[in-house]
Symmetry: D2
Subunit: 432 residues, 4 copies
């Protein structure tokens, strides 16, 4: 699903070694004839990732045993060419550049999922732009909003996150190339030329200088992933709440083998939404690790760089799963407008209290209106009556608001303010 | 130091209430005459932050008791005007917009510190562009680099972080305005006009829709702060390592009452660098909290929003302290070039081993060159001789490299590759 | 509320200085007559915390300026005695020991709140031991449980957490005393005797050796605080979910000025539960910071120790607020048994599906029973009928289960298994 | 290395299913004859972990497809027995109990490594109990300590951590068994008896009640792992600092293929110490995730539980690697006493400043002594002289301290205070 399988990681490392050889040949640092030999040996299925990973514990990183193995294989093709494997580079040049290549592949996967999710949300926003649902603040009923506006809020946030990923990725698309201490000294005066050729070969930019211990670009991209997870976690949480048996306003489309229970056959668990919540619980710790790893010592880190190796790929995997899950859910959400209509009227329709206050405020001081409507709301809830009935028979309301005025004030669909306008602005902003 | 003192926070909240009244008067929602009354009461020294903070625990947030107190004070000026305090708004409109105002003030403070630090680093990069220092990878001596390149690396990273803050702040400069459930329903059809006037009054943008539970812009800015802390932490760590008694290559300028010890009078502790390391330890947890708070329920959060209240200001404070500390240190760093020269030659100058390998590789296979130089290095370290002396008398080197060739290969200042070019690129990139 | 106000912190530091003087006088290291002079000057209201805090940025820590100020004040009493202020100690001896003293005061505050909360939960567990409520797994209706068992689960967890705090505190009740480098060298051969006297004076244990950079005991206690927050966060989340307008099974007792809204008078927000959720969002980052700070260099840290200073007190404050909030809520929870009864029967009572499967499994293979009941559940939900009605008229059920057998199987109060037994075990375990 | 490979995880799940069947047969809930059939099918090599993992995304957890596959295989042995697979249990019963089993296997692996590390440190503490090394506070030279005391500090901390793990594991050794909603309702009145039999079969305790959403025991154990990583990170950081080329006081024993460089043959990187630092960077984020996952909803979590699945095993792996690495390093550390002796005298031996202050304080006020010695130290450092020489010719010292008194005061091995006594206390505490 993401380009962070073991095999893809191995191939990315090998791809950088090949590009390095090409760049060096282009500049004349190594013989042109060696490039094909090195390229011929640079196939991930020739090497045993698990074994290399094991060796890396003692060696310090995976490129040390990989270069050994690659060199040995090149030597079987052409001993002369084996002298030019990994020529002048340091392990971190390879590992970091390979990571950048994998991130360049991974970000569009997440972005595509986000685009599917955005489109799903846009369809919901349009379709339910005027469908009143009860607002819920601090998990309590509040003045109504629309389901379209809920969807537009999801949409807007996801679209921003998607754009932010693009920007963060762009900043990170730089080759890592500095050699042992970041000076390219082993190339004499040819270092910059090789660097430029390497960047060209990989379609990356050559940064002003190597960034072995300057990780801000990477961590900025990691943060963008983390923010995607947080944003999708909000959507996932909303969806689990909407899908509650007592609420029942929106469900993930049922599918065979999806969201069932091993003991309760009626169950349809919101597994997609839960995947997003799960990712949102995990991402903060992963991003925090990337940040905590930033104070990297001198020219190469003693711990911080190494802490990134499993953390960033895991963050990418978690984000990709979350984005795919939400894309699936929003593309085929079952929306229950009857339940929405019913819920907004629950508990006597006290969710409309603000509207009644606004109406009464034309006649009495706002503070008095607040006190009157609080009293009416408590009565309605206690006695199981609607707020309208309670208001209609109240002596403090009588003479100020007529029965039809009360009815008008308590109609949810007439108390939606700019909801529709907001939806339109969002759709227009993203040309949807 | 930052705009997150209690008094500043209180004033920011009051400023938003005043701007709201102005906007509402402009649109004709409230009487124009009330604006001056509300503004007259909106001074932070009229209110007791500690008492309001205490009340907020039960009330749910600080704006509820603040609006009560503000309304009461306005009533003493003009009872009629007191009806229009906080008119149509929800607490979160005020709290979030005030936060945005404070962040708008705070970011430039950090950026100014970063600029001072960047300038300090630029001066170091220029002055020591060709001063060889030993490279250190995994805290072990490696091929040499220059002190100028170290400083250029700090500079480049800090300048990127500064720019990234600007971008993240810009994204976050949006007013929060949605009313109870985010629809502005209490304004009838006037909501958008009030929103536009409010945004104008505060010189913020009006976003496509309210963002009460869509926190990505804020968290993106929080991440930018966190990345600044991480970047400065790298500089701080480098500085503490360079200042070690055994290394002694760079010191914070001594000052009265600075970095002393209560028991050891010789002490000059690197307190500025340590402040930056401290911030880098703290920031990841604070950013993680901001990320963890993102899944906010429906139209207003039940916990997530509230978790931001103390976390983001603390992150700003920590970052501001770190940036100021590093600005001070880099503006007046004591650099010991004699020690730099001495250190690069320590342990027989084995740090130059790569150069010797490159030289020998012209005559023997690279693998053989590696083995020979490893053996020579071990001998030099064991016998307390220089690598040059050991190489000069070695039978495998003899006949391949002359004594003067060995000397040339082992001269650090001749093995600096593109260091100077990298420094120039960095300075040019930032026009320094 | 907690012993981590500025004033209390200052007094704790001064208390350690006085205890040190006492211990030194007892051993004969300083004149006995100086103790009273030092004690007379050791009152927090003599010193300006804000100013000392400001100075600490340059000095490196707060004890350096505090000792200076204390010494000056002692000198005004008796110049001779001023020579013995802070005699032989290092700043960290004072700061760490003061922290331990404050933690010794703070832990019981949290434990008392937990005990109140445990008692509140115990009362609920007993009172509602047989009150059926619908189970909710992945936020979907599941087989029923009892409200008593929910409360017992909260109780059991909180009681474990409270005991764990006691154990972690006990481990941490050790004096910090090592002098400049942790050897007590400035005391010659008297160091151990002073250490023993100091520990006695403060009623702390003398550890095997100083622990300036060995923070495991402290971090273990910090983790115990964090786990309390997590546990209370689960309770807080459950309570916010139960208080949802659509669920309505339990509410925080209303009180004046509590949980209201500035615009919607019907609102009664669950502010206590939300405080607990908020703390659970914040605590992980704070605990992570304590963990991240553990790799402290050599004999005194360059960043890690300093990162603890604001983090641990904040963690204590957050935990204390959460525990107090939950104690209040659980001591006076409004429980709506009518809603509980209603909710378990929602959606046709499909929450009882497992029970029907168990009944049918006596007649058909379990897999077949699952398929039949899934079909019945879907029909019930789609047609708005009860599961009992749908089952009663189904051809696959007919002949296998009689109408009264179906009724018995679908009665929630008869499908509660060991719930009551679990409640009893929990109450017995904690002798409640 | 740890019991958290895919295969071991699968087997642990299957082991719980078998134990469940045994317990149910023992109580008479299922036929005794089915146990052997289920056991025969419960071998991990019969199932495809990757495929099950894939299916789990849609199903909600891995046990749902595993039970399906297990049931199918049992059916091929005996269709009747297939009815009793996973009988009455819920997925979480299996997953949580399997995790407990794996943790029971994993903790001793870490503890064994810690014991090896403790023994290694004990040998160092004994051997170098009186070997003076310079103290280092805030990474600056401070009064001397001993290498034995450094090692004793490591030892003491690791031994405490090891014991804490034992305690935390013991608390967590409880079976998870509650069925669909935690009431064991599907067993009628036999639930408790099955639970007791299941606990017996697995040699775990039966807790007071199921703990599906009460995760404190687990998180407490996770915190214990995290604290191990932090403690080992401190040791790793100390070792990387001691191994710095300029310090050179202790090295990891060299070994073939260990800690080399692909370009610099002189390199011997401290890969073991770095592994520990790496783990200490990663663990805080993982522990924070476990804490953040604690607020789990009602009877089964919608996100929090799921976030634990990959987090806890990763934390165990990281900790196990770190403990093994430090055990290796401390068991065969190369200690350079000559360098230790040399370093303590660096920079004119100003590290002894406190001792000179103590000596002078017998003749002048302490404040004056501090000022004199600060001046002497600066002179010594500036002029490249020893503190002794500078003191000997100083007019303020002359007449107060004789030349031999100065010499005595500045002898590191005579200024070690209680260091040896501390080492003895630590060794005795742990009977080493």
């Amino acid at each position: 699903m993401t380009p962070f399988t073991d095999g893809a990681t191995l191939q990315a490392l090998l791809d950088v070694e090949v590009a390095l050889a090409k760049a060096e040949a282009e500049v004349g640092v190594i013989p042109a004839s060696s490039v094909a030999d090195i390229a011929a040996a640079a196939r991930n299925d020739y090497y045993d990732f698990a074994a290399l990973h094991q060796e890396s514990a003692g060696a310090g990183n995976i490129v040390i045993p990989l270069v050994r193995a690659l060199t040995a294989r090149v030597a079987t093709i052409n001993p002369e060419s084996s002298r030019y494997v990994h020529y002048g580079a340091t392990s971190q040049d390879i590992i970091d550049t390979a990571l950048v290549l994998q991130l360049r592949s991974a970000v569009p996967v997440v972005q595509d999922s986000l685009t599917r999710a955005v489109n799903g949300a846009a369809a919901l926003a349009r379709k339910f732009a005027t469908t009143a649902v009860v607002g819920r603040t601090l998990l309590q009923h509040a003045a109504p909003t629309t389901f379209g506006l809920k969807a537009a809020g999801w949409l807007d946030m996801m679209a921003r996150c998607r754009d932010r990923m693009a920007d963060a990725l762009d900043q990170a698309l730089v080759v890592q190339f500095g050699g042992a201490s970041g000076t390219l000294a082993s190339f004499g005066s040819a270092g910059m030329a090789v660097g430029e050729a390497l960047a060209r070969a990989l379609a990356l930019r050559l940064p002003e200088m190597p960034w072995h211990t300057h990780r801000d670009r990477l961590v900025n991209l990691a943060a963008a992933f983390g923010i995607v997870c947080g944003a999708l976690g909000k959507i996932g949480r909303d969806l689990t709440l909407l899908a509650q048996s007592e609420v029942g306003e929106a469900y993930e489309a049922p599918a065979a083998g999806r969201g069932g229970s091993s003991s309760m056959p009626h169950k349809q668990n919101p597994v997609g939404a839960i995947a997003a919540v799960t990712a949102a619980v995990r991402a903060p710790g992963l991003v925090a690790t990337m940040l905590a790893a930033m104070p990297q010592e001198h020219e190469r880190a003693a711990g911080g760089w190494q802490a990134e190796w499993e953390t960033f790929p895991e963050l990418v995997r978690v984000t990709a799963q979350s984005a795919d899950a939400i894309a699936q859910v929003l593309s085929a959400l079952t929306v229950e407008t009857v339940r929405m209509h019913g819920n907004v009227g629950l508990r006597g329709g006290v969710a409309m209290s603000e509207s009644l206050v606004m109406g009464l405020s034309r006649h009495v001081a706002r503070g008095d209106a607040m006190r009157i409507v609080e009293r009416l709301s408590r009565t309605a809830e206690r006695e199981g009556l609607t707020l309208g009935v309670v208001a209609g028979r109240d002596s403090e309301v009588a003479g100020r608001l007529s029965s039809s005025e009360i009815d008008n004030l308590l109609r949810p669909e007439d108390y939606l303010g700019a909801a529709n306008e907001f939806v339109a602005r969002v759709l227009q902003r993203w040309r949807l």
